[in-house]
């Protein structure tokens, strides 16, 4: 089997639209969560929800990077995807060194072109309006994968994975296994999502799981999640191909584990999360004692954080309370299909810089969780192995394992 390494990174996120800016914000603990800006199609731009904050990308202008025809035919999420994928592919110089049909494009996106769909539906139901002729191509969830293939002239396997909040993690895991097995020699993989529409805000409000202020994962006074948007992309390839041309290597992907709770559509199950972690560690050929960092799913809800902590203790035993844990959602928000990819990016940068990011906005960790949650300032350490957890609604769990590359 091939060893698989990360040779290119890209992102459009609430804490930076380049890897350099993202990294600066990540380690400075600068949160991208801010007051909700005017919402398209909402009366007076106000979503009318009980919460006031979201992790929005306020400085994104596709005109700088994309042709008008591409802008017209894409929703915001696919625009994020194209630009972030370009960053990753360019950094790795991937397309020049792999046959176009030997590169896979594996994306995670669960919500598709939600704001475009809502806009057209509003016109339809309120004034029997005609739909915009590009509605279909703007709203299909696979648009990001298609647009990246067109933009980068990549002809290998390309597809979208929709597993709610685990989509990006599942995508990276599948791409990793495809490269490891030799099905392809490289991949562009990650997640993208721009779900912050009027209907999306209202639907989440009704679920009563969004923090009235901002998410504080693992805090004693945590009171919910914070919604977000963004994209993170990885160029991955065989170690052999990366070394043959002296490509930059940011980390090695060594394991991927998946599971389904088979229990409840919203309530997470300890056993499901624990199984995914165990399988990722086993896939990496590692032992639980080697894990030196966990980038948690850590949404900031009572249910998720307590369940995830219990799962960590079940998998790691006495070692569980000694492993540094953070939830970077406190910085970049919960961007559904993209969030796992953004957290994998934070994990890779942490391994590269020997610096583990904080859980922002937390002053007192919930002591009943018995976890070593990183707060205050980033932790300088060099883990042998790091895992990144994604635990989606519907009980679809995915965990990636990375090693630093020395």
């Amino acid at each position: 089997m091939n060893r698989v390494v990360v040779t290119g990174l890209g992102c459009i996120t609430p804490i930076g639209n380049s890897i350099a800016d993202f990294q600066t914000s990540l380690f400075a603990g600068n949160s991208g969560i801010s007051r909700i800006a005017a919402v398209s199609d909402a009366p007076d731009g106000l979503p009318g929800v009980r919460y006031t904050q979201a992790a929005q990308i306020l400085d994104f202008d596709p005109v700088e990077d994309l042709a008008s025809g591409v802008i017209a035919s894409t929703n915001r999420n696919a625009q994020f995807a194209i630009i972030a994928a370009r960053q990753a592919a360019r950094q790795a110089n991937l397309v020049a060194h792999h046959a176009p049909d030997d590169i896979a494009i594996i994306m995670g996106c669960a919500c598709g072109g939600r704001s475009s769909e809502e806009h057209e539906v509003k016109g339809l139901y309120t004034r029997d309006a005609r739909a915009h002729p590009l509605t279909i191509v703007r709203t299909m969830a696979s648009a990001g994968a298609s647009q990246i293939s067109i933009d980068l002239k990549i002809t290998g396997p390309a597809l979208d994975i929709s597993t709610a909040c685990s989509s990006g993690t599942h995508a990276i895991g599948l791409a990793f296994h495809m490269v490891r097995s030799g099905m392809v020699t490289s991949a562009i993989t990650g997640g993208h999502e721009a779900p912050l529409s009027f209907g999306f805000y209202r639907a989440w409000d009704s679920m009563r799981v969004v923090s009235p202020t901002r998410c504080r994962p693992f805090a004693a006074n945590r009171d919910g999640m914070t919604l977000g948007e963004g994209a993170a992309m990885f160029a991955i390839e065989t170690l052999e191909s990366a070394q043959a041309r002296n490509a930059p290597i940011f980390a090695e992907i060594v394991g991927f584990g998946m599971s389904a709770d088979a229990s409840h559509i919203t309530q997470p199950l300890v056993e499901g999360a624990a199984t995914a972690m165990r399988k990722a560690i086993k896939d990496a050929g590692a032992s639980p004692e080697e894990v030196g960092y966990i980038n948690a799913h850590g949404t900031g809800t009572q249910a998720n954080d307590a369940t995830e902590a219990a799962a960590i203790h079940q998998v790691f035993g006495a070692h569980g309370s000694q492993i540094p844990v953070s939830s970077t959602k406190s910085l970049h928000g919960h961007s559904i299909g993209a969030t796992g990819a953004i957290e994998a990016l934070a994990t890779v940068l942490g391994l590269k810089e020997n610096l583990l990011p904080i859980t922002a906005g937390v002053t007192e960790v919930d002591s009943t969780l018995n976890l070593d949650v990183i707060i205050g300032s980033p932790r300088k350490t060099t883990p042998k192995l790091a895992i990144s957890n994604s635990l989606a609604f519907g009980g679809l769990n995915a965990v990636l394992a990375f090693r630093p590359f020395r």
Binding site: V70, R127, R130, P133, L134
Partner: protein, 86 residues
């Protein structure tokens, strides 16, 4: 320039993210780098703005901004007043 022409030019300028004063009635869509996606997008925006329906066969024959303005002028004369709300 009449109102229909200036509104058509404004729609094209917005769709292409270019200044309106770079577009004239003699500009061809080829010169403006209007591809097939731009054309379908601009046509829809024009239909919405003037409350008209451009026939499929007409789309293929429109080569210049002036062609579009002429077509919209004819179709508008036979159409009800444009909607005032988006």
């Amino acid at each position: 320039m009449d109102d229909i022409a200036s509104r058509c030019i404004a729609i094209i300028a917005k769709a292409k993210s270019i200044p309106p004063d770079t577009i004239t009635l003699d500009s061809t869509f080829e010169q403006l780098n209007v591809d097939s996606l731009d054309k379908i997008n601009i046509s829809f925006e024009v239909e919405e703005a003037f409350n008209i329906e451009i026939p499929d066969e007409a789309l293929g024959t429109i080569k210049t901004v002036g062609d579009m303005v002429d077509g919209v002028t004819k179709l508008s004369a036979a159409a009800p007043p444009a909607a005032t709300t988006p």
